[in-house]
């Protein structure tokens, strides 16, 4: 009997969905409260910022209903805070689904938001930000205040992104949270798979498995192909220190270690969840816009 028929089908691509709030901040004493919602292709986050400090956030999967996911993420971030939508002075949407979020006042591109978010998460020394999301990859240069000075985006393709990693986790039956570490457990680095295209790489991986490669080797070959692809993207824009990665792939040490090796520099570490960078940046822009008197809060019917 197949695993599915016995009801034991495991979803290896699933990562932890959760929410968080600060115990140190009393939002009722805050002057400016803003929210940022990042509706991505794979995940959605909502972040609440009180007087330029991160107060609460939620991180979950984007379902097939993108406006619904935005609302759910927002409600989840508000959960347990005693705050309601009416307490927000400004809400900004970003990410793929940004134009389709009914309760926000404005949409800002994820390029601007990731630059600003990375500046908060990693500090003002960050000059190069690589946003590796579920479905594409963007290289961004920022100044000391997090303003974008140069960016590069390519046409959309899931090659070498989070979604591709999820497909691989599922193919090999390894949890998405373990694929990175597992790919480092090889004695000798195998040659990278010849294409990062998820469809091609998947069939190549299948034939490698059939020829006797173990899971670790196949994962190493895929991670290394992804790292190569990112390096070729970064070469075009140039990597200035300090270098930081945002988005879900930043949690995959199989990619980050290989990138560090190829680029010959260290990638900054952060205590924050790298997936919230976009929503955090959006909320921080909200703060700046309210201070500029640009807060034009929609009446919340």
């Amino acid at each position: 009997m197949s695993a599915q028929a016995s009801g034991e089908k495991k979803e290896f691509w699933r990562w932890k969905e959760y929410n968080w709030k600060s115990d140190e901040i009393d939002w009722r004493k805050g002057k400016i409260i803003t929210a940022g919602v990042d509706v991505g292709s794979v995940s959605s986050q909502a972040v609440i910022v009180v007087d330029d400090e991160l107060y609460a956030f939620s991180n979950q999967r984007t379902g097939s209903n993108s406006p619904g996911s935005a609302g759910k993420a927002m409600m989840w971030a508000l959960e347990g805070t005693g705050m309601t939508m009416d307490d927000l002075h400004y809400a900004i949407a970003t990410g793929y689904g940004r134009v389709n979020v009914p309760f926000t006042d404005r949409a800002i591109t994820e390029i601007a938001c990731h630059g600003r978010g990375a500046n908060y998460m990693y500090g003002g020394t960050v000059r190069t930000v690589l946003d590796m999301g579920g479905q594409d990859c963007k290289a961004i240069h920022t100044d000391a205040r997090g303003k974008v000075t140069r960016f590069l985006m390519n046409d959309k393709c899931a090659a070498g992104t989070g979604r591709g990693m999820e497909v691989f986790a599922d193919l090999l039956g390894v949890s998405i949270e373990e694929v990175g570490d597992m790919s480092l457990e090889v004695e000798k680095e195998p040659p990278p798979v010849s294409s990062t295209c998820v469809v091609f790489a998947k069939s190549e991986a299948t034939s490698l498995l059939r020829s006797g490669w173990d899971k670790e080797m196949v994962l190493a070959a895929y991670c290394s192909a992804m790292a190569h692809r990112i390096v070729s993207l970064l070469e075009r824009i140039g990597v200035e220190k300090d270098f930081a990665i945002t988005g879900g792939i930043a949690k995959n040490r199989g990619i980050t270690r290989r990138l560090e090796k190829e680029l010959g520099l260290e990638i900054l570490d952060t205590r924050y969840d790298t997936q919230i960078a976009g929503a955090l940046g959006a909320a921080l822009f909200g703060q700046a816009l309210v201070k500029k008197g640009k807060g034009r809060k929609k009446s919340l019917a």
Partner: protein, 95 residues
């Protein structure tokens, strides 16, 4: 800000670069591009600025491979219409 919009095809990665610090928002490129890929408006990657600048339209970013391809001949390459039309010299390309 140097904004790079690009695509990848069988022969490599290609990018159109718009230097928004040089762009004066005149919209000459909008008229010049045979595939109409440009638009002029608020700089959506710099939300705190009020200047209007040129950018590649949101719905054109996924089809650059097909829109820009015809302006990329193999030889006897004339100057691209967008680059030629830009008086401040804000547009450049990588091929």
């Amino acid at each position: 800000m140097k904004a790079n919009y690009g695509y990848r095809d069988g022969s490599g990665d290609y990018f159109i670069e718009i230097d928004t610090d040089l762009c004066d928002g005149c919209a000459d490129c909008v008229a010049a591009c045979p595939a109409s890929i440009f638009e002029v408006g608020e700089d959506e990657n710099d939300p705190l600025s009020d200047d209007e600048v040129a950018s590649v339209k949101a719905d054109g970013r996924k089809s650059l491979e097909y829109d820009c391809g015809p302006c990329k001949p193999v030889r006897d390459r004339p100057e691209l219409p967008c680059v030629a039309s830009c008086k401040p010299g804000a547009i450049s390309h990588s091929w």
